[in-house]
């Protein structure tokens, strides 16, 4: 048996190589400008007699696309997207709500009312510019610092605050740390902490979309420039390109991964440079310019729906600390933060744009800020009063059906609590 299959393998192999030999013999020599073009399976390129060494300066830096200047003026009229007034106002309102939510929830962590929080300051333009260019049916895989996208898609402040409190109205049932939101209803896949894991997943989801008849959905996957160093990021780029998936890989390059500056994260021309090298259409955009991001994602979506994956690198600056566990003054200067807060503030730019169009003014601003703040404070107070889910929720959703062992363990805990309940914070949790 072993011998026989060995022989047939040999025969098959011989056949294959002879046919390959034949076909190269019959093909005419390819020439380009008099240069012979190599036909290696791995590369089709001209042969040269002078050794060529490439480095990061062999190419021009990939330019950063902008629509607005720092005063909110449109640089070239033809580039102004013609968005409905209501859409523009919705985008802006989401930014202001996001800022207020960040301010209040950050503070509430400081007071020990929630266990953890991460702010989004400086990245509002990327959130709202991209969110407005998508349809509600497009599927979102996020990292964690994209809350503006979630708000724009209709997740309510109440849902978000409940998640941070892990109360019984948290859609995630109190199992995840704060800021790990998710909503099936709004096509937002629940955020997970391990970085870049969502990237190949997003590509897989896109492939599933591609296979549905008359597909009109794409997937957008957000990730940081730090996360882009993970092996999963490379896998995502490569799978997206080779399997031609309707996916937008949206990098938020905010200059830092916790304390690590992008200068220690990568060499070469940023994340964008990786796109063309892997056969992915690529756009680099000013992430503090909401309209530029909107145009980039609109274009990317168009291409993605033709099964051409697109990489967007949106340049910005992480204005806040990494999280409530971080004090960024330990590794960057206040002047640096200040510069990005004032000169390239995405909210400010977008507001000036709206004001120039006569859509916004000081009074509207004050009312919105005040209303948002009040609403969030009230939401928080309500969230705080709500009980945590029943402790048995700890054992649910591990599997679709609870296996025998888990049933046994739940029973064990039930008996334990009957006897020793006074030692547990049962009062903060829902009862049967």
């Amino acid at each position: 048996m072993a011998l026989r299959s060995g022989v047939s393998f040999l025969r098959f192999h011989a056949l294959r190589s002879s046919s390959r030999l034949l076909s190269t013999h019959t093909r005419p020599e390819v020439q380009q400008n008099g240069k012979k073009i190599a036909e290696f399976p791995g590369a089709k390129a001209p042969y040269v007699t002078e050794m060529k060494i490439l480095n990061e300066t062999s190419y021009e830096p990939i330019p950063i696309y902008r629509v607005l200047d720092n005063n909110g003026d449109v640089l070239i009229n033809s580039e102004e997207p013609h968005l409905d007034k209501e859409v523009l106002l919705n985008m802006y309102r989401s930014m202001v709500q996001l800022n207020q939510m960040d301010k209040i929830l950050y503070e509430s962590q400081r007071q020990g009312r929630i266990s953890f929080y991460m702010t989004n300051y400086g990245e509002e333009g990327m959130h709202l510019g991209s969110a407005a260019a998508l349809t509600p049916q497009d599927l979102v895989f996020a990292q964690y610092r994209e809350v503006g996208v979630l708000l724009y898609r209709g997740m309510t402040m109440t849902e978000l605050v409940n998640q941070c409190y892990g109360n019984h109205e948290d859609p995630g049932k109190g199992r995840h740390m704060p800021v790990h939101y998710g909503s099936k209803q709004h096509n937002i896949v629940t955020i997970s902490s391990p970085l870049a894991t969502q990237m190949p997943q997003a590509v897989g989801a896109a492939y599933a979309f591609k296979r549905t008849p008359n597909n009109d959905r794409c997937v957008i996957c957000y990730f940081g420039e730090g996360a882009a160093s993970e092996g999963d990021a490379f896998a995502a780029f490569n799978f997206a390109a080779t399997l031609e998936c309707p996916v937008i890989l949206f990098c938020r390059n905010n200059g830092y991964a916790i304390s690590t500056p992008s200068s220690e994260q990568y060499r070469g021309d940023g994340i964008a440079a990786r796109g063309p090298s892997m056969g992915i259409h690529t756009i680099r955009v000013d992430g503090t310019d909401t309209l530029a991001v909107y145009n980039a994602v609109t274009k990317a979506r168009e291409m993605a729906l033709q099964n051409k994956p697109v990489l967007i690198e949106a340049m910005s600056y992480r204005v806040g600390h990494h999280s409530t566990s971080d004090d960024s003054t330990a590794y960057r200067s206040l002047e640096e933060i200040q510069k990005w807060t004032t000169d390239e503030n995405p909210v400010q730019k977008f507001r000036l744009y709206l004001e120039r169009k006569g859509l916004w003014n000081e009074e509207a601003e004050n009312t919105l800020v005040k209303d948002s703040r009040n609403f969030i404070v009230r939401t928080m107070q309500e969230a705080e009063k709500k009980k945590k889910p029943h402790w048995k929720e700890m054992f649910e959703d591990v599997y679709y059906d609870k296996p025998f062992q888990l049933q046994k363990q739940m029973q064990e805990m039930e008996e334990h609590l009957k006897k020793y309940g006074e030692h547990y914070p049962l009062d903060s949790f829902q009862k049967e």
Binding site: M177, S193, E230
Partner: protein, 343 residues
């Protein structure tokens, strides 16, 4: 947020001489400082290590030893582990930090398939014994799914690795210095809740605590309680309460080394007490307690008065708000001990 245990500081001094009050973060910093000072091949690296690491264990070391010896890496755990294996293969001492043990899994392939098998598959020609991978592990009260896990059992299944968990400042310094000198690659899991939990009088000089050896922290005759890391403190309190309320005296063992583990100390103790309780934060099924229980029943069968009890995290992911119900806390251990005694 109050923690689920009371810290029992080490009373025993591993060596004579001067001591300094240090918490576990400082003791780990001190061990790495000694190594960087005395071993010119030693380098320390990982995500955010340059400014001291997110738990500050590397604080001040870049200033002291330069950025070619203490440095940030790109954000990539498989890279960190593979880079460390390479350093060690070339003869250097590599101290690799993984930011959280929950994020060690991208490095699983490098550690389990490469580091663990390096000497074996080269017929003893190569090894990467100079590699120690440090990672903060365990419950902190609010870590949820991905800042709480205890992955020791996964690595206990990889012959060739050494897996070590300290219980406080003194043990952390001595065990880490042993790992850094060890001829085999080590995974050093640091219960992060202990970093700043309490201080001990830590010997200022260099000292080593042998790997593969458990420590009997309290002698007793009624039952043997075995744990590692934070859980040791839970068990010490359980033993204390059992003495007061049940009038029994329990022996408490800190296993310290998960792989290879100290069968002799454990089995001698169980043969004496006739009862054994193992507790760990990781889930029950295939937790390292299963290995202990199987060995104890085969080695101590005729001495056992009751089946080995295991008190552990449940077979569910580590949940955020349910942490008080998830952990093998004092009350769950006490209740299991009572059943063990009255079996």
């Amino acid at each position: 947020m109050s923690s689920h245990f009371t810290f029992f500081p080490d009373e025993h001094k591993p060596i004579e001489g001067d001591t300094t009050k240090m918490n576990m973060m400082q003791a780990i910093n001190n061990a790495m400082d000694i190594t960087l000072k005395t071993d010119s091949s030693a380098v320390l690296f990982g995500e955010d290590v340059a400014f001291g690491g997110v738990f500050r264990c590397a604080l001040g070391l870049q200033e002291k030893y330069g950025n070619d010896r203490v440095f940030n890496t790109p954000l990539c755990e498989q890279g960190i582990a593979g880079f460390g294996i390479g350093l060690a293969t070339a003869g250097a001492t590599a101290i690799a930090e993984i930011q959280f043990a929950d994020y060690i899994f991208p490095a699983f392939d490098q550690l389990v398939n490469e580091a663990a098998k390096c000497r074996y598959r080269s017929g003893g020609q190569f090894d990467c014994g100079g590699l120690t991978v440090r990672a903060p592990c365990g419950a902190v009260g609010h870590g949820g799914l991905y800042h709480s896990q205890s992955p020791e059992a996964f690595f206990s299944h990889a012959p060739g690795l050494k897996v070590v968990v300290p219980r406080g400042p003194i043990s952390a310094k001595g065990l880490l210095l042993s790992c850094l000198k060890e001829r085999d690659p080590c995974v050093f899991l640091e219960p992060k809740i202990l970093y700043r939990a309490a201080a001990e009088e830590v010997p200022t000089a260099s000292y080593e605590i042998p790997l593969g050896k458990a420590q009997v922290l309290k002698e007793g005759d009624a039952a043997t309680l075995i744990g590692w890391g934070t859980q040791v403190h839970v068990l010490l309190e359980v033993a204390q309460t059992a003495q007061e309320t049940l009038g029994i005296s329990c022996e408490v063992i800190d296993l310290m080394s998960i792989l290879p583990w100290d069968e002799e100390t454990v089995c001698n103790s169980v043969k004496k007490t006739g009862r054994c309780l193992v507790a760990h934060e990781a889930p029950l099924t295939s937790g390292f307690g299963a290995e202990l229980a199987a060995t104890v029943q085969s080695e101590c069968f005729l001495h056992l008065e009751a089946p080995v009890a295991r008190v552990t995290g449940w077979d569910a992911p580590f949940p955020h708000v349910f942490e008080p119900f998830y952990l093998p806390d004092k009350m769950r251990c006490l209740s299991a001990l009572e059943k063990l005694i009255h079996y």
